[in-house]
Symmetry: C2
Subunit: 162 residues, 2 copies
Amino acid sequence: MLIRVAEPDDWPAIWSFFQPIAAAGETYCYDRHITSNEAMAMWFVEPPGRTVVAVDNQGAVIGSAKAYRNQGGPGSHVASASFMVDPGHGGQGVGRALGEHVVEWARSEGYRAMQFNAVVETNTRAVALWRSLGFDVLTTVPEAFDHPTAGLVGLHIMYRRL
Amino acid sequence: MLIRVAEPDDWPAIWSFFQPIAAAGETYCYDRHITSNEAMAMWFVEPPGRTVVAVDNQGAVIGSAKAYRNQGGPGSHVASASFMVDPGHGGQGVGRALGEHVVEWARSEGYRAMQFNAVVETNTRAVALWRSLGFDVLTTVPEAFDHPTAGLVGLHIMYRRL
């Protein structure tokens, strides 16, 4: 697996898993009917942010991540990030590799910490992954996510120093 | 004091206190060198958000607030908001009036809760105001704000149900 900076040409491959993940409405605070153009504009971030893809041995895009400043101005030394993995390649360490890459990148850029603002508490696989990468749950915003089957569930705010 | 929807013509008056507040770098996660155009584009939000101004008896704009969805999609039932008061009119209840207005508006729009993501912990006047309006500190992100004199201080995440 290779992780490299995302190019606009990677978008169709990212969208092929982004769209069904957004439509399912189980794990992200994105409009379930988000369009390809809206999603691409949101996913590709400008410096000092960074958007990357994970590519398998055949050159196929199997995951993506973006990292960016969580706040501006006097808050811009804390990064945030978002991740998506092709469900057809789940359980292969793609999310972990992207997470490790993004943490290392943010540290090298001089960010002092990383904060996730909206980790759905029922997304236990993601929560366990971030915990294993050193993130703690600072708080859980109650009933902040309307899950299609579980109803109103909490959003974890997760954090680690870099 | 009157609170009404902000018009583009209100911007010069808002900017007259927005600019020095941003430049001071003590209370907001805005670039201290933000331009008028950047600030206006960020401050005027589209529906389902709302930007308002507080106007005194002489018709002068003495404060402003914006309210908006804190997250999209399955998280869009939680609102957030930002507030600015002309320091020349501090201690006159402008912030409280704007806060009460925004809370009522968000409730009437069907939002279930309101969350502030970045209340600077040294901004004790704002913290006390939000507490008096029913907000609690869910957590404090450590050292997430680089204050010009106090150094790295925490950012409170504050929350109340509506």
